[in-house]
Amino acid sequence: MSKPVLIVGSGPAGLSAAHSLASAGQEVVLVEKEDRLGGAPIISGYARLVPSREWAKDAIGGMVARVEENPLIKKHLNTTVDSFDGAPGAFTAKLKDGTKIDAGAAILCTGFTHFDSVNKPEWGFGTYEDVVTTTQVEQMLSSGSGIKCPSDGRKPERVAILLCVGSRDRQIGREWCSKICCTVSANIAMEIREELPDCNVYIYYMDIRTFGLYEGDFYWASQEEHKVKYIKARIAEVASDGKRLIVKGEDTLVKRPITIPFDMVVHAVGMDPNVDNMTLSAVFGVDLEKYGHIQKASTYAAMSETSRAGVFVAGAATGPETIDDSIAQGQSAAMAALSLVSSANKEAAE
């Protein structure tokens, strides 16, 4: 019997990798720092997912349930990996709670951290209560509490969504596109319009990157069916006139300054490298790329490999990623890990 595969993180990528390995009869040890499985979609309380519009608690919840029920997958919650030594086929991991784990391979599915909007103070988050993040709006939707201005609980009549908050911004060292926020924002805008038909939603953008098939179902559906309006402007400042928020910037298509009143401003927050990546890099001996995501060894020939043999990676740990691609990468990493541990097993038998 080969040694188990250690999977760190139980978001979409980790859940998918664990399920795939267990389906192939491979033992898995799953380590999760939070008190439950599911990763960002569950912990942060996402609402309906792109592109299926299934509720996160159903879609990802289903993945959690099948991992929880699987006897081949051993779960360690509320803990992290303190040390990781050895060679491919024979690693030893020590958890913070003292547990020792023998592993043939490891898969890092450690995901990302939501950008913290207080790092862009000019856009009012932390100063005005009615400036919120996409994550907060997801929670308003998923909890059933409805879309309300946090300051006084009123239903907003006009909402602005600012794109690229914490993305594509050299000023704060975040040059990457977070990939998902355009589509997520279009999705949220449609949700708001469905819940509050009298509330107008404006999306302020520099470029729209609702890539691939999202073009029709999100970018255009939001405009043609839900009358969401897109304005090409990078907002300079979010202020207040004492009653409503004032969004200032330049409408670049008409070369005119704008100072428009809004009831609620939503930051489409980007995906930062996981705040724990420096620690993960040190513990697992894997390199990070220049922005601080876990570096992939190769783009084409060998998927899922890191700079250290036997340690694989999947999902948003390597950079902004969608949920469905994270799931695919989880399976890909599972395949890579499985071939390693089964060949190590064969060698041991010979």
Binding site: N200, Q223, K227, R256, P257, T259, I260, P261
Partner: protein, 249 residues
């Protein structure tokens, strides 16, 4: 402070006061010129819906501002200010004041439909121009165009009698638009007709001028048409918020 490059500022945005005292300080004269803000301070959210509700405007929300329409436009080639792409944007964002600046050229669209074929999003820009010109008239921003006056007189006659008497259409149109009936081209056309037409047809034409014939049993058709026209008018008024304005008066 004199303003450099004053020519770049729209004259209506320049304010000069011959006599002006602020906080007891005399700031009269051309050197105290003010420029009004160009900032857009609000969106008119009804505007896109109003235009989209009129025939031709239905697909305005598909526009992604590529400019293919303006590039293809016959009139834009003659007049840079004729810019369908820009007007579609103003309508979508509800920048009514800005649109009204161009109200006297929007109607100049010649419906060549080059934009319609160029548009990658099937916006039907020609239809939007038509709807916009219509909107400007309904809202009272532009006077009724001669073609609208003609159409109204023409349709009214058809609705009333089920028939058209060309002479009457012309007489009414010239009267309503303040034009002489004795236009040279008309006179020569009538003289030509008199000279070349067979006598029987001329007699019939002449009789029809005095005894306006009606389509037999036109009453029911007329009632149905009137009902439909009234319905459409009420719908337009509701759509454009004109019914509320009338109630308020």
């Amino acid at each position: 402070m004199p303003i450099h490059e004053k020519s770049l500022i729209r004259p209506e945005n320049l304010i000069e006061q011959d006599e002006l005292v602020i906080d007891g300080i005399d700031v009269s004269g051309h050197w105290s010129t003010f420029i009004t803000s160009r900032a857009v301070t609000d969106y008119n959210e009804a505007m896109q819906d109003e235009i989209a509700g009129l025939p031709g405007g239905e697909f305005i929300h598909r526009c992604w501002q590529c400019g293919s329409c303006t590039n293809a436009c016959t009139i834009n080639a003659l007049n840079n200010d004729f810019n369908p792409r820009y007007w579609i944007y103003l309508i979508r964002m509800g920048m009514e004041d800005e649109l009204l600046i161009d109200k006297d050229i929007i109607w100049q669209c010649v419906s060549c439909n080059k934009c319609t074929y160029a548009c990658p999003r099937d916006v039907n820009p020609e239809g939007v121009m038509k709807a916009t010109a219509h909107w400007l008239e309904l809202k009272g921003h532009t006077p009724k165009s001669p073609s609208m006056i003609f159409d109204e007189g023409f349709s009214e006659q058809v609705f009333k009698t089920g028939k058209i008497e060309d002479g009457l259409v012309l007489r009414q149109f010239f009267a309503a638009t303040g034009q002489k009936l004795t236009q040279t081209w008309l006179v020569s056309m009538v003289l030509g007709l008199v000279r070349r037409m067979p006598l029987t047809m001329l007699t019939r034409l002449g009789l029809a001028t005095f005894f306006r014939p009606r389509t037999r049993n036109w009453g029911a058709a007329r009632a149905a048409i009137d009902e439909y026209v009234n319905e459409k008018q009420a719908e337009n008024n509701r759509l454009l918020g004109l019914d509320k304005m009338e109630d308020g008066r």
